[in-house]
Amino acid sequence: MIRLRPLFGLAFAAILWEAVSLAAATPSLPGPGAVAAAFPGLVLGGTLPRALWLTLGHTALGLGTAMALGLPLGLLMGRSRAARAFLTPTMELLRPLPPSALIPPAMLLAGFGPGLYAAVVGFAACFPLLLAAMDAGRAVPTPLVDTARSLGAGRLRTITRVVVPACLPGVSTGLRMALPVALIVTVLAEMVGGDGAGRLLLRLQRTWRIPEMYACVMGLGLTGWALAAALASLESRMIFWSPTHRRPSHHP
């Protein structure tokens, strides 16, 4: 009964879409039927799966770069007032730069290889992660750090054994925000980089294969959904202990 309701929503949207496309009567807005019919051609030949696979790789690369850069920096800024004061102005100046404007210089400096994705996606996804890590770093409960210190833990131990795990929930929130950003910017970069779903999307649009283009868009939507779900499951495994993930207690 409850399971039916989501389907109901999707069905309603599909009917609305079909009605609008019938009313518009133009090849530039195919209905859901035409788009669904375009799916097998894209999927069976392996075109769409291959493109999405590449896109996944690029997203992972960009997200990895963003994490490698943003998390330590964010943690540092969260834990050290001096680092925060030092780096905040530069960060605030860089943050509003639109990632798409970064593509041409990145293309020049990094070429069309993985470097392009690392640079552009990494830049775009870096800020949500950095900010989340910074907030998480600032919010590490003082008693936790004090306890570690009073139990004889040195600086390094306190950071690796206490601060880092305590930041994980906040960081994972940041990761959840960064994921759709990374995916969208990856697609943008792929339109230039000539790989993956971005290029497929562009090519389909350029060659006027509009139903296939929308099928590709829907494939991207499904990918984003699957990624979010995968992240959620990973999260519930990694930070099972955070208040939002705790299983009901087995003890009084």
Binding site: P27, M107, L108, M191, G194, R199, R203, R206, T207, W208
Partner: protein
């Protein structure tokens, strides 16, 4: 009455429009014109399809593809012509020190074109096939014309199909022509682009369509006769500086249409899988038009 809304891309290839406006050829035909600069072909074509624009400018291969995919676009007036002589505006370049010597060496390399699936993409595909290479073995990436020289210089791409005005600049900075006239695969003289509308619009406005065509033809004739005025026109309508405008190579413009050459291009488009199957040239010409043979 509403003015005629014409979409164009502010580059040298749309020269006919600038001249026709400046010389009053549209007014003389009783047309009131509202020209709208657009960023790129796809958006322009979508706007024509949506009825936002009455007429638009497009490269021919894209037009063929749109037609083949169910868009009812028809050609209303001829546009820029390229030949491998004086009016050579596109070349395939490699960096000065590149080891590449012939088109066949491109297998496995990265090549920049300005847009996927358009006339430049097709010409490279045809060239590669002719050289016995699988076109799929070359990685075509979409790089805007202005960034191509930098992409070549930085080694981001191994070759680039560059157009004017960037062509002259790149060559003067040391780039070398791998294929001087890639468009020659379509014939010695080749119509790169043209002016189009939806068949619905031409059927409803046959008089305006014909008048537009006449004005464009007059402009073509004017361009051929007044080459000294052209740099000034370009500087006023594009973002080219007068100096640059004076030095670039320009395509040719003329009235009429070589229907046999166009059919050959359509067939090539189909042969290389850019459209599912070929169609007769007549299908893409606005009905009721007398197209003089070139």
């Amino acid at each position: 009455t509403q003015p005629l809304r014409i979409g164009y891309i502010p580059i040298a290839d749309c020269l006919q429009l600038y001249v026709a406006m400046e010389q009053g050829f549209f007014t003389a035909e009783g047309l009131e014109v509202q020209a709208r600069p657009m960023q790129g072909g796809p958006v322009l074509s979508l706007a024509v399809e949506a009825g936002e624009l009455d007429l638009g400018w497009s490269n021919m291969v894209s037009l063929f593809q749109a037609h083949a995919r169910g868009f009812s676009f028809v050609l209303v007036a001829p546009g820029a012509l390229e030949d491998d002589g004086e009016h050579l505006t596109h070349s395939l370049l490699v960096p000065g020190g590149s080891p590449l010597q012939a088109i066949g060496d491109l297998a496995g390399r990265t090549v920049a074109v300005n847009a996927l699936g358009n006339v430049n993409d097709l010409s490279l595909t045809v060239l590669l096939a002719a050289a016995g290479q699988d076109p799929q073995s070359v990685r075509m990436v979409e790089v805007p014309f202005p960034d191509m020289e930098a992409a070549l210089a930085s080694g981001s791409v191994d070759a680039a199909l560059v157009a004017e005005p960037f062509l002259s600049s790149a060559v003067s900075h040391g780039a070398r022509c791998l294929v001087a006239a890639p468009h020659a695969v379509f014939g010695r003289e080749f119509m790169i682009a043209g002016w189009f509308a939806t068949s619905g619009w031409t059927a409803a406005n046959p008089g305006q369509a014909a008048a537009f065509c006449r004005a464009v033809d007059k402009a073509s004739a004017y361009i051929t006769g007044h080459s000294q005025d052209i740099p000034g026109v370009l500087a006023r309508h594009t973002r080219l500086t007068p100096d640059m405008a004076a030095h670039i190579a320009l395509p040719a413009f003329s009235a009429g249409l070589d229907q046999a050459a166009m059919q050959r291009t359509i067939d090539l488009t189909a042969t290389h899988g850019f459209i599912p199957r070929a169609f007769p040239t007549r299908d893409i010409l606005a009905p009721g038009f007398e197209w003089p043979q070139r």
